[in-house]
């Protein structure tokens, strides 16, 4: 049974992540009085790209060729190492919060290198912007997760997700503050509003899209897929670490099934919020983004200091 569940755990993130990108697009379309494409469109896009030929610049080095695989595999490994619907995988080596955060950062590093590699001006400034934002986001990413880690007394993500009463044990305020902090980081790291506009066609405003502008075909499919995985991973971390309800604590079929449904519902709610933000606000001016990330750091710092008082 544990092998079976383990396989599901390993393939869960890449299997369902495109659905949520499609879902956000659908919700946004409905907000704009449009019909919108089917929620499964992201799968079709990836399928289509996987069957297309590639064009690779003759100036591209091995970094450009290898980066999509590294970026994609990083998201698959991290996706398998975080609490999704069950907390039984506490012995996993990779489920420590620092390992998760910095493995993801490694993926971002290769993404930025790939953007620089072909020497295109768009990739260059996009990598520079991505690094600016992720350097600022890193602090609050760590601090917000440390808040819950301090409350529980462990940096193992499965252990954190196992404690169902985190919100009720006088830790309500720090947990909620840390969640807001984390939510800002999630938007920054996954390239959503108000940091980046995943739907834009304006090259000069892009961040994530400009880094992968030179990719086509299969490698582009991997990059798009990896971006979907990353969004799902961040959403799942937010859902399961700050609101750890409904997650299965054993391997029985019923709790696992409930766990799957509950985590999907939680992430659908997150998608609704993200789509709502993208529909009613404008993108921020680039130099206002650090302010937002600093707000996020302050929220985490306050959250941690509140734990010490109690």
């Amino acid at each position: 049974m544990i092998i079976f569940i383990g396989i599901i755990q390993a393939f869960f993130v890449p299997a369902v992540s495109p659905l949520f990108i499609g879902l956000i697009k659908k919700i946004k379309a409905r907000f704009q009085n449009r019909q919108g494409a089917s929620v499964f469109q992201s799968y079709r896009d990836i399928w289509k790209l996987l069957h297309k030929d590639e064009v690779i610049s003759s100036d591209a080095s091995w970094i450009f060729r290898l980066a999509p695989f590294i970026v994609f595999i990083v998201t698959v490994i991290v996706g398998a190492s975080i609490p999704l619907f069950t907390t039984v995988f506490k012995q996993l080596l990779t489920s420590d919060l620092l390992i998760v955060i910095y493995t993801l950062a490694g993926g971002t590093f290769f993404l930025a290198l790939a953007g620089l590699d072909t020497g295109s001006a768009f990739g260059g400034f996009a990598s520079s912007r991505e690094m600016t934002i992720s350097a600022l986001a890193e602090g609050s990413f760590v601090l917000s997760l440390f808040t819950v880690a301090l409350i529980i007394g462990s940096t193992n993500l499965f252990v954190i997700a196992d404690s169902k009463n985190i919100l009720f044990n006088n830790f309500f305020l720090p947990t909620i503050l840390a969640f807001f902090s984390f939510f800002i980081v999630m938007l920054a790291e996954s390239g959503r509003f108000p940091f980046d506009n995943p739907a834009t066609h304006l090259e000069l405003t892009m961040i994530h899209e400009a880094m992968i502008l030179e990719y086509s075909g299969k490698r582009l499919a991997l990059m798009e897929w990896a971006a979907a995985n990353k969004f799902f991973i961040l959403a799942a971390l937010g859902a399961n670490l700050f609101f750890p309800w409904g997650i299965a604590q054993n391997l029985n079929l019923l709790p696992v099934a409930i766990g799957v449904i509950v985590v999907l519902v939680k992430i659908i709610i997150m998608c609704l919020v993200v789509a709502f933000i993208e529909s009613v606000t404008a993108k921020f001016r680039f130099f206002r983004l650090p302010d937002l990330l600093i707000t996020s750091i302050v929220l985490s710092a306050v959250a941690i200091s509140l734990i010490q008082k109690i």
Partner: protein, 522 residues
Amino acid sequence: MNQNNITQDLPQLVFVETFGQTAIFEAPAEELLNITRVFRNDKNFRFVSMTATDERSSWGGFKVWYIFSVPKEQGFIALFIKLKDTENFPSLSIDFPDTWNYERKINTFFGLTPVGHPDLRPFILHENWPADIFPLRKDFSWNTKPKIANGVYNFQEVGGEGVYEIPVGPIHAGIIEPGHFRFSVAGEEIVQLEPRLGFTHKGVEKLFEVLSMDDKVKLSEKISGDSSFSHSLAFCQALEQLANTKPTERVDYLRVIFSELERLANHLGDIGAIMLDAGFNFGGSHCARLRETVMLVSERLTGNRFLRGLNIPGGITKDIDDQERVRIVRNLENLLKDFSEIVKVAENSASLLNRLKGTGILSRSIAESYGAVGIAAKATGLKRDVRVEFPYAAYDKLILETIEIEVDGDVYARFYVRIKEVRASIRLIIQALQVLPEGALVNEIKKTLPKNTVTVSLVEGWRGEIVYFVTTDSEGKIDRVAPRDPSFVNWSLLGQVSLGNVVPDFPLINKSFNLSYSGNDL
């Protein structure tokens, strides 16, 4: 207009004739700078356009024309200098930067050298065009295919540590016209921007010399596809002035209605596009929807979404019946209701206003010295609107309450001038529909035009002032048509406006101008 006043103050000028609203003067080339100074600084004449004509076949030389407008008297001055046995003319670009690009264009297309011009790189024609072939000279046949040349074009370079260049276009990620932008950037800040256009050059001015009259009108509609009606109106107006034929009152009113429908559709599209480029999707999609309702009205009325095939010399081809008059008013009232709601939402969005305000500021002094027109000028507080200053069609009979202006000169100001103009356009259309007088649709114009004369026709397109300068030869045939789209003037502002802004804000600034590439490249 009193030409005696002008010749009294400037005895160097030779008065030639007055044709319609246009007074024609000849100036000696060496006195040009002084005369221009007096015209602009003392008499407050406004520089409108500048071009050249090749008249070597009649008297053996070229003329360089300077068109001024006299806002108070609703007239125009066409000043020319004769170039005989020389291909040089004095450059005014150092004193008057608004002549800069006109002189470059004359240099490239006529092979006449503006002496003293600091930048004589080819304009619009690219480095694959031989530098010694001048397509607007009469001895160049329109269907000549010159050999591909291998010239060089040197972009302006900015040195210094950490300054890098971003080449953008001519192919873009969106479906827009082609143009190349060369940014010099320090970090994210734009230190220089040089637009390079000309990718949609299609030889319009040469074609105007060879096409039949009907095709000339069609050609004018294609100069800038989103301003089809205004362009053909300006051209037909020029022909009507030459033939001294006035269309009926009904035609005047219909032309106002269609002009304003065009303005309405484009302004709604732009208001939406500005919001969309700021990432404010709600406003973007709803304004796109409203624009479509206007396009549908246009299609219902004329069979063409872009109002093409309507203007003909002496009249208009499509009428509006009484049933439609009621229907359009209902359509527009509904549109205004929806529009007001969208504007209210937009005005209450702090994140949207933060993007628009203070971005891409055009100072009033730069707008004035570069001769900015249309939305860009109105957004800096300059009251420039042909409809009010030089009324044409039925604009003098309708009450266009005021020229809508804003004073800040930023993206928000240009955004808001459009919002005000949308409201004003709806009022104007409803007003015109209510009093639409009876009359014939076409007054045939005379086939023979006066000989050796010129006329100037101005129309306020939705972007700004559209100018048509038309000359006839010694047989009374149309010799030269020099259209000037407002984009030609306003493109030169873009580099100035972008300075000091961050690169990700440039698309928004560009969209707030929304200039035509095709209208510039001709």
